[in-house]
């Protein structure tokens, strides 16, 4: 009897520890949301924990009225849509080529692939020089072209394609369809779950990127939302610029005082909200795939 009671005590402590961990994960997001919805002057008094004290949407209004921030939002959306579409399409097409074991270039391509996986890339300076030589430096292409193929995605998609029933493609082949047609008409539509998984992953990657803006562009009109947020967070010039922008807005008739910090919080909420929205879907796909993937790739 006594032993069982000890177990119960362990269960309670364990549950409390887990709740505490989950709280530290979730709470900062709640805090940021509360600050972004609170009046900026009032926030400086401190003590905003869960709910805004003086509710206002002013910080979000500033984002909509600041041209550089609107532009950054467009850049982020643009790179997410174009980049994701290219990654999904090209990576799955490459994965499809890799399913033909009787393809003449199968073996050499396999070696090239693994060499690229283990030795590919090579530091930001050589990459910078390469981008400069091929002329994509400080160009929108630098966001989408280097990521059109993700070698890890290729492996994942290929694993899925390999388990599709081979009869489908064979019968289409007998009917005279070529590989290109089979890919578009049969393989791609039949692989909706894996395509969804890759799409979500690629979209999160594009949405969250900011390093490429820092390394390979001069900023300007190519700044993404994440990059602008980083600038406001770290660089005092950016903060000053934003303050000037707000002064101008205030002169135009917006009365409430808004400071760069609350705008920063509002941008944080804006860049996190879409991830929270697709989160249930990410979860659904991850649960199934990750277990299987881990077994295949690591174990």
């Amino acid at each position: 009897m006594k032993k069982i009671r000890k177990w119960e005590a362990f269960d309670i402590i364990n549950a409390c520890v887990l709740v505490a961990i989950a709280f530290t994960m979730a709470y900062p997001f709640i805090n940021i949301l509360a600050i972004s919805l609170n009046d900026a002057m009032d926030t400086q008094r401190g003590g905003i924990y869960f709910l805004p004290r003086k509710f206002t949407l002013e910080s979000y209004a500033v984002i909509l009225k600041t041209p550089s921030l609107v532009n950054a939002t467009f850049v982020t959306l643009q790179r997410t849509i174009i980049g994701t579409a290219l990654t999904v399409f090209c990576s799955s097409m490459f994965a499809y080529v890799f399913t033909f074991k009787n393809y003449i270039l199968y073996r050499p391509m396999k070696w090239i692939f693994f060499a690229a996986m283990f030795f590919g890339g090579g530091g930001i300076i050589p990459t910078y020089m390469l981008y400069k030589n091929i002329g994509i430096l400080d160009n929108f292409a630098v966001y989408v072209v280097p990521s059109i193929i993700n070698l890890f995605f290729v492996l994942v998609i290929r694993t899925y394609f390999m388990q599709l029933p081979s009869g489908l493609t064979e019968s289409a082949m007998l009917d005279g369809a070529n590989e290109l047609v089979i890919f578009f008409k049969i393989v791609f539509p039949l692989s909706a779950p894996i395509i969804a998984y890759i799409t979500l992953n690629a979209a999160v990657y594009q949405w969250n990127s900011w390093q490429d803006t820092l390394f390979y562009t001069n900023g300007g009109s190519l700044k993404s939302l994440q990059y602008v947020m980083m600038e406001v967070m770290l660089k005092s010039e950016a903060t000053k610029m934003l303050s000037r922008e707000m002064m101008r807005l205030r002169q135009m008739g917006i009365r409430n005082m808004v400071d760069p910090k609350s705008v920063r919080m509002a941008i944080t909420v804006l860049v996190t909200a879409p991830i929270l929205c697709i989160y249930p879907f990410l979860q659904k796909y991850y649960q199934g795939y990750n277990d299987r993937l881990n077994e295949r790739l690591i174990l």
């Binding site: 032993k3 362990f10 364990n14 549950a15 520890v17 887990l18 961990i21 989950a22 994960m25 979730a26 900062p28 997001f29 940021i32 400086q44 003590g47 090209c90 097409m93 490459f94 080529v97 003449i104 270039l105 090239i112 060499a115 690229a116 030795f119 590919g120 890339g121 090579g122 530091g123 930001i124 300076i125 050589p126 990459t127 020089m129 390469l130 400069k132 072209v145 193929i149 590989e179 290109l180 949405w207 969250n208 900011w210 390093q211 820092l214 994440q226 947020m229 980083m230 967070m233 770290l234 944080t268 860049v271 996190t272 991830i275 929270l276 277990d291 881990n294 077994e295 690591i298 174990l299």
Partner: protein, 311 residues
């Protein structure tokens, strides 16, 4: 005879090429992409052995042999950067492997499925947001008027607000905490999957033999997931010179630079911001090869003393 056989083989090969022309068409763009974007930067490594001048290019710049590598090993600053990198990444490897394991073991003891799923779902959330958001969160929570200081003052633990991010002595601890916070839930998935694949009969037999909860954990769960933990550990040793650009760049500042500067941020600062292309390439090259060597060393140690290794 022989020539016809050769011709036959040749026509067979060209027939095969013809038959697979669509596959060939499909592979060309990808091969081009791989050669440019994966192997292209490798040719840039030559810059490490030159006094590279962007106007003259790789072919026009003078060769200087190992000058930059000698400069690298005699530089005091590099030693400091190297120390920070190794300390931050070793702390990261230790906590990044142990914390998720403990978290997974703890989650595994929860019997209530919806509770377990909720905790898990919340715990991977930080993995999906960018490091900019994470840095923003931690800079805000630990700022002078942030929640951390307010709570600490209200509890009477400190009398004046502390500037956590301006203290170079606490940087390593803070950055380790941030990294654990971000990845603990995500990294625990692989351990949970491994635990789920353990045969339940082992537990039943152990229970009949009178094993309690902790001895089952100690004698069954941990030994069963150890091989995988070992492989993850070997793989992570390759990252020992890779302390991560994001964390140091976003959370470090000039005040904490003495402890926050790591190889990646140093290369960025001297390479792109100051234009010392050759020297920073030499640093990168050193980092890449040191990483390879570390994986080999850990793998051979693991092979010698345990049964688990990568190859």
């Amino acid at each position: 005879m022989q020539s016809t056989a050769a011709a036959n083989r040749k026509s067979k090969l060209s027939y095969k090429f013809y038959k697979q022309r669509y596959l060939l068409i499909m592979s060309v763009p990808f091969l081009v992409w791989i050669f440019i974007f994966c192997f292209g930067p490798i040719s840039g490594w030559l810059m490490a052995f030159q006094d590279f001048n962007p106007n003259k290019g790789i072919f026009g710049s003078p060769w200087v042999g190992l000058k930059h590598f000698i400069a690298l090993f005699s530089s005091k600053q590099i030693l400091l950067v190297m120390r920070n990198t190794v300390v931050i990444s070793v702390l990261g490897i230790l906590t990044g492997n142990i914390c998720p394991l403990v978290f997974a073991l703890s989650l595994n003891e929860v019997k209530n499925a919806p509770f377990k799923r909720t905790i898990q779902t919340i715990s991977y959330l930080p993995h999906f947001v960018s490091f900019v958001v994470v840095a923003n969160i931690f800079l805000t929570v630990f700022s002078v008027d942030g929640v951390f200081n307010t709570v600490m003052i209200n509890l009477g633990l400190i009398s004046n607000p502390t500037q956590v991010w301006a203290d170079k002595n606490s940087f390593w601890g803070m950055i380790t905490f941030v990294n654990v916070w971000k990845e603990i839930g995500w990294n625990s998935i692989i351990y949970l999957a491994a635990i789920a694949s353990i045969d339940m009969e082992q537990y039943e037999a152990a229970t009949i033999d009178g094993c309690g909860r902790f001895s089952r954990m100690w004698y069954i769960t941990i030994p069963s997931i150890l091989p995988m933990a070992m492989i993850l550990w070997i793989l992570s040793m390759g990252d020992i010179f890779n302390a991560g650009f994001d964390a140091s760049y976003l959370l470090g500042n000039p005040v904490t630079r003495e402890t926050s500067e790591v190889i990646d941020t140093y290369v960025f600062r001297i390479g792109i911001e100051n234009g010392m292309f050759s020297f920073s390439t030499a640093v990168t090259l050193f980092k890449i090869f040191a990483g390879f060597i570390m994986v080999f060393i850990t793998n051979s140690i693991a092979k010698k003393h345990t049964e688990h290794s990568l190859w």
